[in-house]
Symmetry: C2
Subunit: 198 residues, 2 copies
């Protein structure tokens, strides 16, 4: 069975979004500041990363069989136009199934009964591969529930000052990690992988 990880591009002061959903031009610069083309599931969206970041991205994509995301991100991205750019089944943790959507659709499955059920559903969809989780409150809930094996941080050299923390509302802190067991220097990003200590 694959690993469950949570990962995101994060500012040095710990934010995955600045105030009023700002700062993405800094947080996501590494997706587009290189020469290696990275096609996504969306034909209109191709990343162009450095060789280092491209290798990192391909490893993530290669090991990810399904995603769990929060409803806020799903709304904010307008359901990524119909499919997550990674092109894998995506479980949306939500209070209610959005109007006009089936509970279990082609690319999106809506789970309304909490993080444990959302991860279980994603594991089922992922088969032998791993499950990637959104940052934010959901990641903290999953960490609190002991569901997370690894934390992957794309550390971006910017201070956003305020915004949405990668980890918020952790109930079980301190949470010890081990590593980083992998450090990849990209351009305007350092990719770091940690294991959650049990």
């Amino acid at each position: 069975m694959g690993k469950v990880y949570t990962g995101a591009s994060m500012s040095i002061d710990g934010y995955v979004a600045g105030p009023q959903e700002s700062g993405f031009e800094h947080l996501f610069a590494w997706y587009t500041n290189g020469d290696v083309e990275l096609p996504t599931a969306n034909p209109e969206m191709t990343f162009r990363a450095t060789p280092q970041s491209a290798k990192h991205w391909r490893e993530i994509v290669g090991m990810t069989g399904a995603l769990v995301v929060g409803r806020h991100l799903w709304d904010f991205t307008n359901a990524w136009g119909g499919q997550h750019p990674m092109g894998v089944p995506t479980v949306v943790l939500t209070h209610t199934v959005p109007d006009g959507w089936k509970q279990e659709g082609e690319w999106f499955t809506f789970v309304t009964t909490g993080i444990e059920d959302a991860v279980a559903k994603a594991r089922e969809l992922a088969g032998e591969k791993g499950v990637g989780l959104n940052s934010g409150r959901m990641a903290s809930q999953a960490l609190d529930a002991g569901l997370v094996d690894e934390v992957w941080i794309d550390l971006v050299p910017v201070l956003l000052g305020a915004g949405t923390p990668f980890f918020s509302g952790l109930g079980t802190a301190p949470v010890l990690l081990d590593g980083p067991y992998d450090v990849v220097a990209g351009d305007r990003v350092t990719h770091l992988r940690y294991r959650v200590r049990r």
Copy 2:
């Protein structure tokens, strides 16, 4: 003239202290989890770091001619027993000179007129060497005032969940950094150095 830097041991979620001044056993583990003896100015306190962290520490000490710290830290450490462990002149930014202390003493100088004056005083004391600044609100004030050349982070693999952020109350965010131009893997710490982009 030396550089002005701010540096601290920081959790992955951006805290330099956990709730109620907790978490230091994690944040400062790298000072004592190796075999290389690092004497300090305090004869009763010797660090024992890994070779990697010891080299990093010696570089910091070697380039630091004076420090600027906040009154809270000075109080919390009980004036480090009389002298900062780095053994350099230390400027304490405070609202009032503490009872029983001279404004300009052997090891501590108290500045009551703001961060710019505190850094100027430390530069004077440091001579050709650099000035190290505390993390926390003071570091943010100094960043806002354009006084900081570098940010050094000893990134510790722990999530503290809450506490004292490295950077708090930044007025000028986003602040772009460059780097890391140095990444040193210690044991339970990754030493990262960034430059502040002007």
